[in-house]
Symmetry: C2
Subunit: 317 residues, 2 copies
């Protein structure tokens, strides 16, 4: 926020090319098998869900890599909603592919196959016009890639990362180092416990914060989320869902909704963050109502606002 | 509530001997093993926790049976807080004894031994002065015993029952029949799923309500609770706890707090029930802070009110 001493042309660029949010992470092809439907090589990936979610709130740029097998109609869908100049298409590579199954109760996902493909040796770069992005969300990428991306940004207002079991098991030290470099961590409950080697989620959050972040949000799926920020503990129930079609991307949509609302308000005070958590819950609830990214593509700002209001009425006592 | 046609002496009795809440269920000796402490044959039982919890709010009567091994100092503790005329001491019998262990994360209880003893062939009776109790809570007893008890009460305003895995597995039809005879069901999430044979908790609650009850409350432990009443869905997060000493009795204390608040307000409208759920969460959070019933014995009405206010501030957004 301190622009003193910066050359004027940088300030002008900031005005001209400001991207409210930049999301970095996987843009994937998912094969998702539920007892009721199987989607083969449909559009997925943490960054896809997060960016589609945040784009409901503010302009969003997406940084990632796909292979030549990534269908042009998927790219068109992304183009329609987010700035895709940050997506590299590697002509001699194949898109990251994740094959998983859900059982009848949607409580547990079984990983059938993970093909990293173009993700494996990706050297992240961003379009120069993204360097002034003020809100940065690092989805579930390699923590080393995330740290590299972070260095590109000149003066972000809020940087948030997530991580997944794979990196905790394989690069735990880098995960901790990455977390020390961001303002906030969004992580699901099982992964928080795995990372922190303790069960109590408040203790997990406090341990993560001891590494550097100002706040931690633990995502608990059907049980909602828990924001810990300094002395503030803010538990928020999930929007109750009677019918779930596909839980894929709920957590990423939560993160996108959270970042989107904070960026839209352009404010990181605690009250804004609490509201943002509720918008995150609302976006997660939308995501699971249809297969893949379908629901995120069909809802409007008004739908989001209506559900937010329903949520507010519902939890009032 | 309609007293037309009732003889006058009944109405007078109601004024003279009114007990605000009658709790029926197990008064037990628990052996509870945690990694940090073992309590051998300490005071426990669903009805003990529920009645101690509700007695913070209103006068409470306790109906149950113990053996001659039930220590007189435990009976004194109960006497000090609740009306114990409903407790039968069977001189040639032993008190119900439950031996269980928790692991480090307190997430799962392992049952080591369950000795029904005097509970097994208990033919429930209640002191005649209890028959005008207006608020009846049937803790985790045999559903057939619960139905018998229910018949004693002349004109209750609110009847609520709970149940446990043991009865669902052994007497499922009687559990369903019992539920058809009460106004509300309080049940934990795992038992709701087991009883209803479906995972989604809203669907479980709706199925239970299709049997008769006007409302269902699903207790979700560290994730709080879910009240379903007609079209109302009210999810409430748990009061976040960083240190848990002994999870025993949390759900029973929740039920006691819920019933206690409703009885104190003498009102069963939806707004009162929502508030009562919050008081239930508060009482459950107190219960786990010390071993056995210790915490319930040491807190005051002011402690409860302060934590309720902290809860209200905490969830506000």
């Amino acid at each position: 926020m301190n622009n003193i001493g910066k050359p004027l042309f940088i300030l002008k660029m900031k005005i001209l090319f400001q991207n409210m949010i930049t999301v970095f992470g996987t843009v994937a092809l998912d094969t998702t098998r539920t007892p009721f439907k199987t989607g083969t090589r449909i559009m997925g990936g943490a960054a896809t869900y997060a960016s589609l979610s945040s784009s409901i709130f503010v302009d969003t740029s997406l940084v990632g890599i796909v292979g030549s097998d990534f269908p042009s109609e998927y790219m068109d869908i992304l183009d329609n909603r987010v700035d895709t100049k940050g997506i590299i298409v590697k002509q001699d590579g194949k898109t990251f592919h994740y094959d998983s199954s859900f059982d009848y109760d949607f409580a547990h996902r079984i990983s059938n196959k993970t093909e990293l493909n173009v993700i494996a040796d990706f050297e992240p770069v961003i379009p120069t016009e993204y360097i002034n992005s003020e809100y940065i969300y690092l989805a579930n990428n390699d923590p080393i890639q995330n740290m590299k991306i972070l260095e590109y940004f000149s003066n972000p207002k809020l940087t948030v990362c997530d991580t997944i079991e794979y990196w905790i098991l394989n690069k735990r030290e880098d995960v901790v180092k990455m977390m020390s470099k961001v303002d906030g961590v969004v992580i699901n409950d099982e992964e928080a416990r795995l990372l922190c080697k303790t069960t109590n989620l408040i203790k997990c959050a406090k341990l993560i914060m001891s590494w550097g972040p100002l706040f931690t949000i633990v995502k608990k799926g059907e049980h909602g989320s828990l924001l810990i920020n300094g002395d503030t503990v803010f538990p928020a129930p999930a929007y109750p869902m009677e019918e779930i079609v596909d839980p894929t991307g709920a957590g990423d949509s939560f993160a996108g909704g959270f970042m989107g609302y904070v960026a839209k308000q352009n404010n990181t005070d605690i009250n804004t963050m609490k509201e943002a958590v509720i918008y995150g819950n609302v976006m997660g609830a939308f995501a699971v109502e249809d297969f893949g990214v379908q629901k995120l593509l069909s809802i409007t700002k008004e739908d989001v606002q209506n559900r937010y209001q329903m949520y507010r009425n519902m939890v009032k006592f």
